[in-house]
Point group: C2
Chain length 160, copies 2
Amino acid sequence: MRAKSGSEAGAKTAGATFMEQALEQARAAAARGEVPIGAVIVKDGRVLATGRNRTREGNDPTAHAEIVAIRAACAALGDERLPGCDLYVTLEPCAMCAAAISFARIRRLYYGATDPKGGGVEHGGRFYAQATCHHAPEVYSGIGEVEAGEMLRAFFRERR
Amino acid sequence: MRAKSGSEAGAKTAGATFMEQALEQARAAAARGEVPIGAVIVKDGRVLATGRNRTREGNDPTAHAEIVAIRAACAALGDERLPGCDLYVTLEPCAMCAAAISFARIRRLYYGATDPKGGGVEHGGRFYAQATCHHAPEVYSGIGEVEAGEMLRAFFRERR
Protein backbone atom coordinates (compact mmCIF):
# COMPACT_ATOMS: atom_id res chain seq x y z
CA MET A 1 0.00 0.00 0.00
CA ARG A 2 2.49 2.61 -1.19
CA ALA A 3 1.44 6.07 -2.30
CA LYS A 4 0.99 6.16 -6.04
CA SER A 5 3.54 8.16 -8.01
CA GLY A 6 3.51 10.22 -11.20
CA SER A 7 -0.01 11.57 -11.64
CA GLU A 8 -0.24 12.07 -7.91
CA ALA A 9 3.03 13.99 -7.62
CA GLY A 10 1.25 17.19 -6.58
CA ALA A 11 -0.80 15.38 -3.97
CA LYS A 12 2.36 13.71 -2.71
CA THR A 13 4.07 17.05 -2.19
CA ALA A 14 1.13 18.43 -0.23
CA GLY A 15 0.94 15.14 1.63
CA ALA A 16 4.59 15.39 2.64
CA THR A 17 3.87 18.81 4.14
CA PHE A 18 0.94 17.50 6.13
CA MET A 19 2.97 14.49 7.25
CA GLU A 20 5.68 16.90 8.40
CA GLN A 21 3.04 18.50 10.63
CA ALA A 22 2.11 15.07 11.96
CA LEU A 23 5.79 14.43 12.69
CA GLU A 24 5.88 17.75 14.54
CA GLN A 25 3.05 16.47 16.73
CA ALA A 26 4.99 13.24 17.31
CA ARG A 27 8.02 15.25 18.42
CA ALA A 28 5.80 17.22 20.82
CA ALA A 29 4.55 13.91 22.28
CA ALA A 30 8.11 12.66 22.75
CA ALA A 31 9.07 15.89 24.51
CA ARG A 32 6.36 15.09 27.07
CA GLY A 33 7.46 11.50 27.58
CA GLU A 34 4.63 10.09 25.49
CA VAL A 35 5.05 7.51 22.75
CA PRO A 36 5.94 9.74 19.77
CA ILE A 37 3.01 9.47 17.39
CA GLY A 38 1.27 12.43 15.80
CA ALA A 39 -1.66 13.02 13.46
CA VAL A 40 -3.34 15.79 11.50
CA ILE A 41 -6.73 15.89 9.78
CA VAL A 42 -7.02 17.87 6.57
CA LYS A 43 -10.15 19.22 4.90
CA ASP A 44 -10.15 21.21 1.66
CA GLY A 45 -6.36 21.45 1.72
CA ARG A 46 -6.18 22.94 5.21
CA VAL A 47 -5.40 21.43 8.61
CA LEU A 48 -8.66 21.05 10.52
CA ALA A 49 -7.28 19.37 13.64
CA THR A 50 -4.12 17.91 15.09
CA GLY A 51 -3.48 15.23 17.67
CA ARG A 52 -0.57 13.71 19.53
CA ASN A 53 -0.44 10.62 21.67
CA ARG A 54 -1.31 11.63 25.25
CA THR A 55 -2.29 8.43 27.01
CA ARG A 56 -0.11 9.15 30.04
CA GLU A 57 -0.84 12.85 30.37
CA GLY A 58 -4.56 12.23 30.08
CA ASN A 59 -4.72 8.92 31.97
CA ASP A 60 -6.62 7.73 28.92
CA PRO A 61 -5.70 4.55 27.04
CA THR A 62 -7.85 5.71 24.13
CA ALA A 63 -5.94 8.97 23.67
CA HIS A 64 -3.95 7.87 20.64
CA ALA A 65 -2.99 10.62 18.19
CA GLU A 66 -5.68 9.61 15.69
CA ILE A 67 -8.47 9.52 18.30
CA VAL A 68 -7.41 12.88 19.71
CA ALA A 69 -7.40 14.39 16.20
CA ILE A 70 -10.74 12.83 15.22
CA ARG A 71 -12.45 14.08 18.38
CA ALA A 72 -11.03 17.57 17.82
CA ALA A 73 -12.08 17.63 14.16
CA CYS A 74 -15.60 16.44 14.99
CA ALA A 75 -15.86 19.08 17.71
CA ALA A 76 -14.69 21.73 15.24
CA LEU A 77 -17.32 20.71 12.68
CA GLY A 78 -20.08 19.84 15.14
CA ASP A 79 -20.53 16.49 13.42
CA GLU A 80 -19.82 12.88 14.29
CA ARG A 81 -18.61 12.19 10.75
CA LEU A 82 -15.78 13.67 8.70
CA PRO A 83 -16.50 12.91 5.04
CA GLY A 84 -14.05 14.56 2.67
CA CYS A 85 -11.41 14.69 5.39
CA ASP A 86 -8.00 13.02 5.15
CA LEU A 87 -5.95 11.82 8.11
CA TYR A 88 -2.15 11.80 8.24
CA VAL A 89 -0.51 9.80 11.03
CA THR A 90 3.12 8.91 11.60
CA LEU A 91 2.51 5.22 12.38
CA GLU A 92 0.17 2.55 11.04
CA PRO A 93 -3.05 2.86 13.08
CA CYS A 94 -3.86 0.14 15.63
CA ALA A 95 -7.17 -1.77 15.55
CA MET A 96 -8.84 0.84 17.75
CA CYS A 97 -7.79 3.76 15.58
CA ALA A 98 -8.39 1.95 12.29
CA ALA A 99 -11.99 1.38 13.33
CA ALA A 100 -12.42 4.94 14.63
CA ILE A 101 -11.13 6.26 11.28
CA SER A 102 -13.76 4.14 9.55
CA PHE A 103 -16.57 5.29 11.87
CA ALA A 104 -15.60 8.92 11.23
CA ARG A 105 -15.85 8.28 7.47
CA ILE A 106 -12.32 9.58 6.82
CA ARG A 107 -11.76 9.67 3.06
CA ARG A 108 -8.04 8.97 2.80
CA LEU A 109 -5.60 7.62 5.36
CA TYR A 110 -1.90 8.38 4.97
CA TYR A 111 0.56 6.83 7.37
CA GLY A 112 4.31 6.75 7.81
CA ALA A 113 5.90 3.68 9.35
CA THR A 114 4.23 0.28 9.39
CA ASP A 115 3.68 -1.41 12.76
CA PRO A 116 4.01 -5.20 12.64
CA LYS A 117 3.65 -5.46 16.43
CA GLY A 118 0.49 -3.42 16.88
CA GLY A 119 -0.87 -2.28 13.53
CA GLY A 120 -4.45 -2.96 12.52
CA VAL A 121 -4.44 -1.91 8.87
CA GLU A 122 -1.95 -4.22 7.19
CA HIS A 123 -1.35 -6.33 10.29
CA GLY A 124 -3.48 -8.13 12.87
CA GLY A 125 -7.21 -8.03 12.16
CA ARG A 126 -6.78 -5.85 9.04
CA PHE A 127 -10.00 -4.03 9.84
CA TYR A 128 -10.62 -2.53 6.42
CA ALA A 129 -10.58 -5.98 4.82
CA GLN A 130 -13.31 -7.34 7.12
CA ALA A 131 -17.01 -7.71 6.31
CA THR A 132 -17.65 -5.96 9.65
CA CYS A 133 -16.05 -2.79 8.22
CA HIS A 134 -18.67 -0.60 6.58
CA HIS A 135 -16.44 2.23 5.36
CA ALA A 136 -12.82 1.82 4.33
CA PRO A 137 -10.67 4.87 3.56
CA GLU A 138 -8.22 4.90 0.66
CA VAL A 139 -4.90 3.96 2.27
CA TYR A 140 -1.42 5.28 1.43
CA SER A 141 1.67 4.48 3.47
CA GLY A 142 5.38 5.14 3.54
CA ILE A 143 5.37 8.95 3.66
CA GLY A 144 7.84 10.10 6.29
CA GLU A 145 8.32 6.55 7.46
CA VAL A 146 12.08 6.85 8.06
CA GLU A 147 11.79 9.74 10.50
CA ALA A 148 8.64 8.34 12.14
CA GLY A 149 10.25 4.96 12.66
CA GLU A 150 13.53 6.37 13.94
CA MET A 151 11.69 8.56 16.42
CA LEU A 152 9.86 5.55 17.83
CA ARG A 153 12.99 3.40 17.97
CA ALA A 154 14.90 6.14 19.79
CA PHE A 155 12.03 6.55 22.26
CA PHE A 156 11.90 2.87 23.19
CA ARG A 157 15.70 2.50 23.12
CA GLU A 158 15.97 5.12 25.87
CA ARG A 159 13.39 3.36 28.01
CA ARG A 160 14.51 -0.28 27.79
CA MET B 1 -17.76 -18.12 24.65
CA ARG B 2 -20.62 -18.68 27.08
CA ALA B 3 -20.34 -17.87 30.76
CA LYS B 4 -19.28 -20.94 32.68
CA SER B 5 -21.87 -22.51 34.98
CA GLY B 6 -21.80 -24.41 38.28
CA SER B 7 -18.78 -23.23 40.22
CA GLU B 8 -19.33 -19.73 38.89
CA ALA B 9 -22.98 -19.55 39.88
CA GLY B 10 -22.31 -16.81 42.43
CA ALA B 11 -20.31 -14.80 39.95
CA LYS B 12 -23.11 -15.26 37.41
CA THR B 13 -25.68 -13.82 39.80
CA ALA B 14 -23.53 -10.78 40.48
CA GLY B 15 -22.80 -10.53 36.80
CA ALA B 16 -26.51 -10.50 35.97
CA THR B 17 -26.93 -7.56 38.35
CA PHE B 18 -24.11 -5.63 36.70
CA MET B 19 -25.44 -6.45 33.25
CA GLU B 20 -28.83 -5.13 34.38
CA GLN B 21 -27.08 -1.83 35.13
CA ALA B 22 -25.51 -1.90 31.68
CA LEU B 23 -28.98 -2.48 30.20
CA GLU B 24 -30.21 0.50 32.20
CA GLN B 25 -27.51 2.60 30.49
CA ALA B 26 -28.63 1.23 27.13
CA ARG B 27 -32.21 2.27 27.87
CA ALA B 28 -30.95 5.76 28.79
CA ALA B 29 -29.16 5.94 25.44
CA ALA B 30 -32.31 4.90 23.57
CA ALA B 31 -34.32 7.56 25.39
CA ARG B 32 -31.93 10.14 23.92
CA GLY B 33 -32.15 8.77 20.39
CA GLU B 34 -28.75 7.10 20.59
CA VAL B 35 -28.07 3.51 19.57
CA PRO B 36 -29.02 1.64 22.77
CA ILE B 37 -25.79 0.21 24.12
CA GLY B 38 -24.64 0.52 27.71
CA ALA B 39 -21.64 -0.52 29.79
CA VAL B 40 -20.43 -0.61 33.38
CA ILE B 41 -16.96 -1.18 34.79
CA VAL B 42 -16.68 -3.05 38.07
CA LYS B 43 -13.79 -3.13 40.51
CA ASP B 44 -13.79 -5.10 43.77
CA GLY B 45 -17.46 -5.91 43.36
CA ARG B 46 -18.55 -2.30 42.97
CA VAL B 47 -19.45 -0.18 39.95
CA LEU B 48 -16.54 2.15 39.23
CA ALA B 49 -17.91 3.80 36.09
CA THR B 50 -20.79 3.63 33.64
CA GLY B 51 -21.13 4.54 29.99
CA ARG B 52 -23.78 4.77 27.34
CA ASN B 53 -23.45 5.29 23.64
CA ARG B 54 -23.44 9.05 22.98
CA THR B 55 -21.96 9.47 19.53
CA ARG B 56 -24.70 11.85 18.37
CA GLU B 57 -25.00 13.89 21.53
CA GLY B 58 -21.24 14.33 21.72
CA ASN B 59 -20.54 14.61 17.97
CA ASP B 60 -17.95 11.95 18.68
CA PRO B 61 -17.72 8.72 16.66
CA THR B 62 -15.51 7.24 19.38
CA ALA B 63 -18.11 7.74 22.13
CA HIS B 64 -19.25 4.12 22.27
CA ALA B 65 -20.49 2.92 25.67
CA GLU B 66 -17.27 1.01 26.40
CA ILE B 67 -14.98 3.93 25.53
CA VAL B 68 -17.08 6.33 27.61
CA ALA B 69 -16.93 3.93 30.57
CA ILE B 70 -13.19 3.27 30.20
CA ARG B 71 -12.36 6.97 30.07
CA ALA B 72 -14.52 7.61 33.14
CA ALA B 73 -12.97 4.73 35.08
CA CYS B 74 -9.43 5.85 34.20
CA ALA B 75 -10.27 9.39 35.25
CA ALA B 76 -11.69 8.08 38.54
CA LEU B 77 -8.53 6.09 39.27
CA GLY B 78 -6.06 8.55 37.76
CA ASP B 79 -4.51 5.76 35.76
CA GLU B 80 -4.39 4.80 32.09
CA ARG B 81 -4.82 1.13 32.99
CA LEU B 82 -7.58 -0.75 34.79
CA PRO B 83 -6.13 -4.08 35.95
CA GLY B 84 -8.53 -6.06 38.14
CA CYS B 85 -11.49 -4.32 36.55
CA ASP B 86 -14.28 -6.10 34.68
CA LEU B 87 -16.40 -4.57 31.94
CA TYR B 88 -20.04 -5.43 31.25
CA VAL B 89 -21.53 -4.28 27.96
CA THR B 90 -24.86 -5.09 26.35
CA LEU B 91 -23.44 -5.83 22.87
CA GLU B 92 -20.32 -7.54 21.54
CA PRO B 93 -17.65 -4.81 21.35
CA CYS B 94 -16.58 -3.55 17.93
CA ALA B 95 -12.92 -3.58 16.82
CA MET B 96 -12.34 -0.13 18.30
CA CYS B 97 -13.74 -1.03 21.70
CA ALA B 98 -12.20 -4.51 21.78
CA ALA B 99 -8.77 -2.92 21.35
CA ALA B 100 -9.49 -0.17 23.90
CA ILE B 101 -10.53 -2.85 26.42
CA SER B 102 -7.21 -4.58 25.80
CA PHE B 103 -5.18 -1.36 26.14
CA ALA B 104 -6.94 -0.62 29.45
CA ARG B 105 -5.96 -4.10 30.71
CA ILE B 106 -9.55 -5.00 31.59
CA ARG B 107 -9.51 -8.38 33.35
CA ARG B 108 -12.85 -9.84 32.28
CA LEU B 109 -15.23 -8.83 29.52
CA TYR B 110 -18.90 -9.80 29.81
CA TYR B 111 -21.21 -9.00 26.94
CA GLY B 112 -24.83 -9.61 26.08
CA ALA B 113 -25.83 -9.98 22.42
CA THR B 114 -23.36 -10.98 19.73
CA ASP B 115 -22.93 -8.63 16.76
CA PRO B 116 -22.26 -10.44 13.48
CA LYS B 117 -22.42 -7.16 11.52
CA GLY B 118 -20.01 -5.09 13.57
CA GLY B 119 -18.49 -7.15 16.36
CA GLY B 120 -14.73 -7.41 16.80
CA VAL B 121 -14.45 -10.14 19.43
CA GLU B 122 -15.98 -13.22 17.83
CA HIS B 123 -16.50 -11.58 14.42
CA GLY B 124 -14.39 -9.54 12.00
CA GLY B 125 -10.76 -9.18 12.97
CA ARG B 126 -11.24 -11.05 16.29
CA PHE B 127 -8.77 -8.76 18.00
CA TYR B 128 -8.02 -10.95 21.01
CA ALA B 129 -6.92 -13.82 18.76
CA GLN B 130 -4.33 -11.70 16.92
CA ALA B 131 -0.58 -11.60 17.56
CA THR B 132 -0.94 -7.79 17.61
CA CYS B 133 -3.06 -8.10 20.79
CA HIS B 134 -0.84 -7.93 23.87
CA HIS B 135 -3.51 -8.36 26.56
CA ALA B 136 -6.71 -10.35 26.10
CA PRO B 137 -9.41 -10.27 28.78
CA GLU B 138 -11.31 -13.39 29.79
CA VAL B 139 -14.49 -13.24 27.71
CA TYR B 140 -18.01 -14.31 28.69
CA SER B 141 -21.07 -13.66 26.56
CA GLY B 142 -24.78 -14.28 26.52
CA ILE B 143 -25.77 -12.54 29.78
CA GLY B 144 -28.84 -10.40 29.16
CA GLU B 145 -28.56 -11.02 25.45
CA VAL B 146 -32.33 -11.33 24.85
CA GLU B 147 -33.17 -7.91 26.24
CA ALA B 148 -30.06 -6.28 24.74
CA GLY B 149 -30.82 -7.69 21.31
CA GLU B 150 -34.50 -6.81 21.42
CA MET B 151 -33.69 -3.23 22.45
CA LEU B 152 -31.38 -2.83 19.44
CA ARG B 153 -33.84 -4.44 17.02
CA ALA B 154 -36.65 -2.17 18.24
CA PHE B 155 -34.41 0.87 17.87
CA PHE B 156 -33.49 0.15 14.28
CA ARG B 157 -37.00 -1.05 13.39
CA GLU B 158 -38.36 2.39 14.31
CA ARG B 159 -35.77 4.12 12.16
CA ARG B 160 -35.87 2.09 8.94
